[in-house]
């Protein structure tokens, strides 16, 4: 019996003492080894981080030295030490782009996009790749990601630049409707910056919306009255919408700026000529209008004659019918006839502008007055009948 009790005590010790004791010993061993491993791994982590940063800095230095191939190696090495580091991967992708390894760069950008689809930088890069490869849907998707995405700093500026790129993309594709829609969105949120207003105005001018372009140029030079691109752009835009007096004013102001080149003076001359020849000017008396139309006919006839003499007395075939019509009109091209037949004023002007249009491609560079007539023809399309 006593023996049995001893046996039971041993068993109880096994259960109450041995198993818990073993667990406690194993826990203690775990703690000791974990502490040692922690110290070991911390030392290694420090070294890894240090090496990662060192190689990242090396890569950036190589990029600054314009050695993207060396930068690629350095960034790849930095990724060994911190494969998840966003900056390392982004810089590697950028360096790969610079080396011309676009597919490899694209792959990194795509993997970054998978990690953070809202990142503006990555979206913009991917949009640029899509533009280059002509993938319109992808380009729009990534541009949209860049415009509405997260940016590390100056997010408004970056988003605006992304929108500018999207507009340029549409313009390159000839999709002026989409470009203009985006321009309207862009111009509604512009800060008070003459450069930005002027850039937007340029784009409006590019899509042919000169009135909106003029508005933006005006905003630009209101912010900086001496900002040459805005003055010149406003002059051009006003010229295109047919407001020659305003154009003359802006171009005159632009011509006084240091940045003004010969193109300003040329346009000013044309504008002044257009202003002088414009038969559609509001409040113009009929006699004055007749004078201007007759003067226009004279200029156009002179252009036709000059063209004929330049080509040895014979006009190019496409101008021959116009010459015939000019000759038919010639006897009636006088103030007396036109005063009696005011309904013939516009058809005479149409003949003048038609001669200018047709001779534009075959008779060499037009003079300022010829260009003015062309501009007038474009801004006031008329029917001879």
């Amino acid at each position: 019996m006593l023996h049995d009790w001893k046996e039971m005590n041993v068993l109880r010790r096994d259960f109450v003492v041995r198993e818990p004791l073993l667990v406690v010993i194993l826990v203690l061993i775990t703690i000791v080894f974990s502490t040692l491993t922690h110290a070991y791994s911390r030392a290694y982590d420090r070294r890894r981080n240090q090496l990662g940063q060192q190689w990242f800095a090396e890569g950036n230095a190589e990029l600054q030295k314009n050695k993207p191939a060396a930068a690629v190696d350095a960034f790849r090495t930095s990724l060994i030490y911190d494969s998840r580091n966003w900056d390392y991967r982004l810089h590697l992708a950028e360096a790969l782009s610079q080396v011309g390894q676009t597919r490899q760069a694209l792959n990194y950008y795509q993997s970054l996009w998978q990690l953070n689809p809202k990142n503006g930088v990555v979206n913009l890069h991917l949009a640029e790749f899509a533009v280059r490869s002509g993938q319109v849907a992808d380009a729009e998707r990534y541009f949209s990601g860049a415009i509405f995405g997260d940016w590390p700093n100056n997010s408004a500026d970056h988003r605006r630049e992304a929108l500018f790129e999207l507009i340029n993309f549409y313009l390159q594709r000839g999709d002026t409707g989409q470009a203009e829609s985006q321009l309207i969105i862009l111009s509604a949120n512009l800060p008070e910056d003459p450069v930005l207003h002027s850039r937007v105005a340029d784009l409006y001018a590019h899509v042919g919306d000169y009135q909106r372009a003029l508005d933006q140029y005006r905003r630009a030079f209101h912010l900086d009255p001496k900002y040459f691109p805005a003055l010149f752009g406003a002059g051009e835009a006003a010229f295109h919408v047919g407001d020659y007096h305003a154009a003359e004013t802006y171009l005159t102001r632009a011509s006084h700026e240091d940045a003004a080149g010969p193109e300003v003076k040329n346009l000013l001359q044309i504008t002044q000529a257009a202003s002088a020849l414009n038969p559609f000017e509001r409040g113009l008396r009929e006699s004055e209008k007749i004078q201007r139309v007759l003067r226009s006919f004279q200029i156009a006839s002179g252009r036709l004659d000059a063209c004929s003499s330049r080509s040895g007395g014979s006009l190019p075939s496409k101008l021959a019918p116009l010459q015939q019509r000019r000759n038919q009109w010639k006897p009636n091209a006088n103030p007396r006839y036109l005063s009696r037949h005011p309904d013939q004023i516009d058809p005479l002007f149409v003949i003048a502008t038609e001669i200018e249009k047709q001779s534009q491609s075959v008779c060499g560079e037009p003079a300022a007055e010829d260009s003015a007539l062309l501009a007038l023809a474009n801004s006031h399309p008329l029917d001879e009948k």
Binding site: M1, L2, D4, W5, E7, M8, L11, R12, D14, F15, V16, R18, E19, L22, V23, L26, I29, T30, F33, S34, T37, H38, Y40, S41, Y44, R47, R48, L51, Q54, W55, D73, R76, T77, L79, I80, Y81, S83, R84, Q101, R103, Q104, N107, Y108, Q110, S111, Q114
Partner: protein, 593 residues
């Protein structure tokens, strides 16, 4: 437990009833308090997982330190270092293996299997230390080997050390080695499911519910431990798989074929060179790790440092489409060469990582070619590289189940399963066709060992009762009939026993003698009411023949009955039927090698 306190006092006066009660209590408490090895085994599995995880963390860090010191911190080491480091370190490793750590050579996988099947799961702790040091040196210095197989052995070795210290039974010691192996592999590959499957598929060779829980616990705890220290990042960044078009399955099939051929080339190269190396004098064998290192250094200096070490960084680059297909193909070929050299020289290190590397490069090459020639197919090169890894795993290591789950676990994307299945099937079939014995079996034989062939075990034909049973006997007596009515059916036969069918019950049996006795006694009761019938064990058609064998040895015949209706006799089975079925099965399906 409401027994009075007096029962616990051995000094108290005793009476008969008191003694009996005390004795009963003692027996009960004895049963409850005994040290339960099974219960403690699961707790131990968790600790083994933690220890293996810690060991693998230290192992990986040591390997990286060695690489930093020997090869420098650049992705592509400077030529002089690349040339000298593997050679000189190879010589040092050789010295260590031939003097101090004699059991540390090789990958560790076969050694673990040998420990499991030959030494009852015992792995000397010196081997663990030796494997840790020599494998760190080898892989860190640029030998073309991987850390997973050594980690597997280190885990198994740690488990063995703990089990030995706790004086566990031989049975538990045998179970402990695979537990540690799974923990080591899981931590090294950061993929617990794949590790568990690999150990079951390649180390244990069969599914065993008894050990599965412990293996899973150990694998999970080791991965958790490892991630605490090294982070949860996978070994490589997997690009998203995306939509896979059906046309791409053709490319994946091509990848499977190429992978199968590459697996065979790799296996044959090792199988051809290894015996030649082993035949040479010992003095020359000492030099082989150094010579292998020298040749790997030459490959690196020739412009392909990517073949050095485990190569995970380069797999990552391949996955991110950073190489042309020509370079990828060349790297796959050179890696086969470099790994063959390192491995046959006896340098410690595994083949797990090189296998994945070769697969990733082949996959990347196929993916890049597809991109170049069929740009409208949008599958990413990374997906091809990932599938390629599985392909080599299926073809070279012949672990088809692990290969599928590995791709799933690493990518975390189930849309990859179809290309993985297509490619792995081609690879596995080609490899089996062109190379009968898997490389691990070849190595086992070359080492002079006889370990169970896992592929053979895995694919062993399982026979069921229905494969062996004879048709329903012509004479089955009706239990509702009287002995006199039953007698005419049996009187002319020489059978000693007859089955008696009983309504809604399994059949019983009656002997010829008993029936005759009942007839002579003029017993008019139905047979089922007599004491002469006796119960007989029964089987179902789908039961394993292996399970039926013990019954067949004890009974002259066993009825096979329907699971839904136990009274319905489908056939009978006797020992002769069982033996005949096994004989036929062996003739029909001989071992593949």
């Amino acid at each position: 437990m409401s027994t009075p306190d007096t029962t616990l006092n051995p000094a108290s006066p005793s009476s008969d009833s008191f003694v009996a009660a005390a004795d009963a209590f003692r027996r009960r408490i004895t049963a409850q308090l005994s040290f339960d090895e099974d219960r403690f085994f699961l707790i131990l599995a968790v600790f083994i997982g933690i220890f293996a995880g810690l060991a693998v963390v230290c192992f990986r860090i040591t390997m990286e330190w060695v690489r930093l010191y020997l090869l420098g911190s650049t992705l592509n080491p400077p030529p002089l270092r690349a040339f000298l480091a593997p050679c000189l370190t190879g010589l040092l490793i050789s010295l260590l293996i031939f003097t101090i750590f004699k059991g540390a050579a090789g990958s560790g996988l076969n050694q673990t299997k040998a420990a499991l099947y030959i030494f009852d799961g015992y792995i000397p702790f010196r081997t663990v230390i030796g494997k840790f040091i020599t494998a760190s040196l080898a892989i860190g210095s640029g030998h073309s080997l991987g850390p997973e197989d050594p980690a597997l052995q280190i885990g198994a070795g740690l488990a063995s050390a703990v089990g030995t210290r706790l004086k566990l039974s031989r049975k538990k010691m045998r179970l402990l080695a695979p537990v540690g192996a799974a923990a080591g592999l899981a931590a090294a590959f950061n993929a617990p499911i794949s590790a568990v499957l690999f150990v079951i598929e390649e180390v244990i060779g069969h599914w065993s519910a008894g050990i599965l829980g412990a293996i899973v616990l150990a694998a999970v705890s080791s991965v958790v431990t490892m991630r605490l220290f090294l982070g949860a990042e996978p070994l490589f960044r997997i690009p998203s798989v995306g939509v896979i078009r059906w046309q791409e399955l053709v490319a994946y099939a091509v990848l499977g074929i190429l992978g199968g051929i590459a697996s065979v080339v790799f296996s044959k190269a090792i199988g051809w060179l290894r015996p030649k190396v082993k035949e040479t004098p010992m003095t020359l064998q000492v030099l082989y790790p150094g010579i292998a290192g020298l040749l790997i250094g030459l490959i690196a200096v020739a412009g392909f440092p990517q073949v050095m070490g485990a190569g995970y960084d380069f797999m990552d680059l391949a996955m991110h489409d950073q190489y042309t297909w020509e370079i990828l193909g060349l790297l796959a070929g050179l890696k086969i060469l470099a790994t063959t050299l390192s491995f046959v020289s006896g340098t410690p290190g595994g083949m797990f990582a090189p296998t994945l590397y070769i697969g990733a490069m082949l996959g990347g090459a196929v993916g890049t070619v597809e991109h170049n020639f069929f740009p409208y197919l949008t599958g990413s090169v990374g997906t091809y590289a990932l599938v390629g890894m599985g392909v080599l795993f299926a073809g070279f290591l012949r672990a088809p189940i692990t290969s599928v789950f590995m791709a799933l676990e690493v990518s975390g994307d189930y849309s990859i399963i179809l290309p993985v299945l297509v490619a792995n099937t081609f690879s596995y079939l080609i490899s089996r066709r062109l190379q009968a014995a898997p490389v691990l079996e070849v190595l086992t034989r070359l080492d002079g060992l006889s370990l169970p062939a896992m592929e053979e075990k895995r694919e062993e034909e399982t026979l069921n009762v229905e494969d062996a049973m004879s048709p329903r006997p012509s004479i089955v007596l009706d239990g509702d009939k009287s002995p006199a009515e039953a007698w005419p059916f049996v009187s002319h036969t020489a059978e000693p026993f007859f089955l008696v069918s009983l309504p809604n019950q399994p059949p019983a049996q009656i002997s010829f003698g008993e029936l005759r006795h009942l007839v002579e006694a003029d017993d008019h009761r139905p047979l089922r009411e007599t004491q002469a019938i006796s119960p007989v064990p029964y089987l179902h058609p789908d039961e394993d023949l292996e399970d039926a064998l013990p019954l067949a040895t004890r009974h002259s015949f066993i009825p096979v009955v329907n699971r839904a209706d136990l009274s319905q006799i489908l056939g009978v089975l006797d020992l002769g039927d069982v033996m005949e079925a096994y004989r036929k099965s062996h003739e029909e399906f001989p071992a593949p090698y």
